[in-house]
């Protein structure tokens, strides 16, 4: 009698446990992406003229650096998960000079690749609705007619005693860069590690074309200049190699 009772209790518990487990693994979870900023082989420090002009004389300092990450897709065994309303303004003016995105409610799956854009897609870029971090009253708004700045870099170039302002505002639909990263190991939601990316600010001036900041101290609405910098920022993000 006793035996039967404890056996049925035990199997009951087991069954509930199994049910809870099955329930949990079928629940959506969180995927985290972390972007750590560097400047070439140096750490990112704001407001300090510690970096050499990659294409010429002088040292430069960074006052502001931010850019849009959008349209994040996670590629899994069951299919592609498109993160809804994924417009994130990545900025690094914090103690760890990093930016983290927490994607909540990601369907259970094993994901082997992630794609996203630097910039904003044409539809959102032509709209004044506030979605995600898109805000027509923010500093990334350029003006009503041309949409958003995709990337903003402001600072100064200091050469002997002249200080030149540096203003790089890059936008225009054609300069959205979509990047694909094949992950070294597949990930599932709620795994303990974030996906780690490195953002190299210097690549903006050294990526495909080396820029002399003295010769090109600002990039705004000139399409060729904007294309040149966009070609460079297309190379600035990489997966962080794990030790």
């Amino acid at each position: 009698m006793r035996k039967l009772l404890s056996m049925s209790v035990a199997s009951g518990l087991l069954l509930t446990g199994a049910a809870i487990y099955v329930y949990q693994v079928s629940q959506p979870g969180t995927v985290r992406m972390r972007f750590d900023a560097v400047v070439g082989n140096k750490p990112l420090v704001f407001n300090d003229a510690r970096y050499s002009n990659p294409g010429g004389a002088g040292m430069f300092r960074i006052r502001d650096f931010q850019f849009f990450i959008s349209n994040i897709d996670l590629h899994g065994e069951k299919g592609v998960y498109r993160v809804p309303d994924s417009y994130y303004l990545a900025r690094f003016d914090n103690s760890s000079t990093s930016y983290q995105i927490n994607l909540a409610n990601v369907p259970r799956d094993w994901y082997s690749a992630v794609t996203f854009s630097i910039g904003v897609d044409e539809v959102a870029n032509g709209s004044i609705m506030s979605v995600g971090d898109l805000d027509p009253n923010s500093r990334m708004a350029w003006n009503w007619e041309v949409g958003y700045k995709f990337l903003l870099f402001e600072g100064a170039l200091i050469d002997s005693d002249t200080i030149r302002p540096l203003v790089y505002h890059v936008g225009f639909n054609e300069n959205r860069k979509t990047l694909r990263f094949n992950l070294p190991e597949e990930v599932a939601p709620d795994s303990s590690d974030a996906l780690l990316f490195t953002v190299d600010v210097l690549a903006l001036f050294t990526g495909k074309n080396t820029v002399d900041m003295a010769a090109l101290p600002n990039v705004k609405f000139d399409r060729d200049d904007a294309r040149l910098l966009a070609g460079n920022y297309g190379t600035m993000i990489s997966l962080t190699a794990r030790p």
């Binding site: 704001f46 407001n47 006052r63 303004l89 003016d93 004044i128 609705m129 506030s130 805000d135 027509p136 009253n137 923010s138 500093r139 708004a141 350029w142 003006n143 009503w144 402001e154 600072g155 100064a156 002249t162 030149r164 302002p165 540096l166 203003v167 505002h169 003295a214 101290p217 600002n218 705004k220 609405f221 000139d222 200049d225």
Partner: protein, 386 residues
């Protein structure tokens, strides 16, 4: 015996629990009776181009809170000697500024700062005062009341005064419950959140109801563009700091604070550095809303400019260089820059400067400065103006 004993214990337990339940019911009924049930504010709207707004969960917009806040805002009892109310320095017909270069309160001493317009406070920087030293309107509201130069009022004394008043106990009861410093702050903040200016000529233009004049339209275009000589785009670069629809500073972090070149390094006021402790923030100030700007002279944190012409002259040719000066101001130029001798100037011509000023005038909202709901309630009822 045994069972009988159990029986009577059971009975008394039953009785006791019945009493308990009744007591709880009575207390609940009482609490429910005294707990205020304020009415959510009806028909509260704002233009979608202003973007999202947040109202603190512990201080929802209710009719009772707005009514109470409005009365407090206009009540001189809030100052130590009953001579100054919030509205002394924030007058509706001046879009809630006071027309002085720097404000004067109960002490008669001129304050360090120019009064700020109170419009659309739910948008733009979520940091208040010129140097951003407080993070909420609730926190802000208690500052002038206690400041010895502004209203010089002890909060405990104020609560006693309000409790002795004929009207306030009832108003507080229906809005929040009891009279406390916290609830005074909440009510003032709630009233301020309703001060929305969204019916200027510019708003009507945004809604497609009218066309701007050719001059205003030129001014709007200049306001909204950072100049780029390479593509022959002329601009006044105002949008670099004053957002396109709100015309105030940006709301993310401290992005809405900037150094717009008023002073040289040696004369720089600490500004935002007071709040963040960062040297790089020295001389940065809150980028104010430009809505109703034609009504809110004198201009800047110390009221140094008396006209919009002077403001435009400042941006066009009066910039003083310092380390935290915005690179966007240094760089913005409508003429090709000399790479060696940088002379900071927008190089707008007279016609363009006038056009920007004409655009600034389209930000005046007459319904805002005449709206009954924002006006002095003491004028309307028979309450003596203490």
């Amino acid at each position: 015996m045994e069972s009988g004993g159990f029986g009577s214990i059971n009975k008394s337990i039953a009785m006791l629990s019945l009493c308990g339940v009744m007591l709880i019911a009575i207390i609940y009924g009482f609490v429910a009776y005294i707990e205020p049930k304020p009415t959510p504010l009806q028909g509260f709207t704002a233009p979608f181009v202003f973007g999202k707004f947040r109202v603190p969960v512990d201080n929802p917009l209710t009719q009772e809170a707005v009514q109470l806040g409005r009365r407090l805002f206009y009540d001189k009892q809030l100052s130590g000697d009953n001579t100054v109310s919030c509205s002394t320095c924030h007058l509706q017909h001046l879009a809630f500024t006071d027309g002085k270069a720097r404000s004067v309160g109960v002490s008669g001493k001129t304050l360090d700062f120019n009064s700020m317009s109170l419009a659309n406070l739910m948008w733009g920087p979520r940091h208040f005062f010129w140097n951003g030293r407080v993070d909420s309107l609730e926190e802000q509201a208690l500052a002038p009341i206690q400041d010895p130069n502004e209203m010089a009022q002890n909060l405990d004394d104020l609560i006693d005064e309000l409790e002795a008043d004929d009207v306030y106990p009832g108003l507080f009861r229906s809005a929040y419950g009891k009279i406390s410093a916290e609830n005074i702050a909440r009510a003032l903040a709630t009233f301020e959140r309703t001060l929305i200016s969204a019916d200027s000529k510019y708003d009507q233009y945004l809604r497609g109801e009218l066309k701007l004049s050719a001059e205003e339209e030129l001014g709007r275009k200049l306001f909204m563009a950072h100049p780029d000589v390479k593509v022959s785009l002329r601009g006044g670069n105002c949008i670099d700091c004053h957002s396109q629809f709100l015309t105030s500073g940006f709301n993310a972090q401290f992005d809405g604070f900037s150094n717009n070149g008023l002073d040289t390094e040696a004369l720089l006021n600490p500004g935002l550095q007071f709040t963040t402790g960062q040297v790089t923030d020295r001389g940065k100030f809150k980028v104010p809303t430009l809505r109703n700007i034609a009504l809110t002279a004198p201009y800047m944190h110390d009221g140094r400019f008396t006209t919009l012409e002077q403001v435009l002259d400042h941006y066009n040719e009066g910039i003083r260089v310092s380390d935290s000066l915005s690179p966007l101001i240094m760089e913005a130029d409508n003429q090709p820059q000399d790479a060696v001798n940088i002379r900071i100037s927008l190089n707008l011509n007279e016609e363009e400067k006038r056009a920007v000023i004409a655009f600034l005038h389209t930000l005046t909202d007459h319904s805002f400065i005449t709206e009954d709901k924002f006006s002095n309630p003491f004028d309307a009822d028979t309450m003596p103006d203490a």
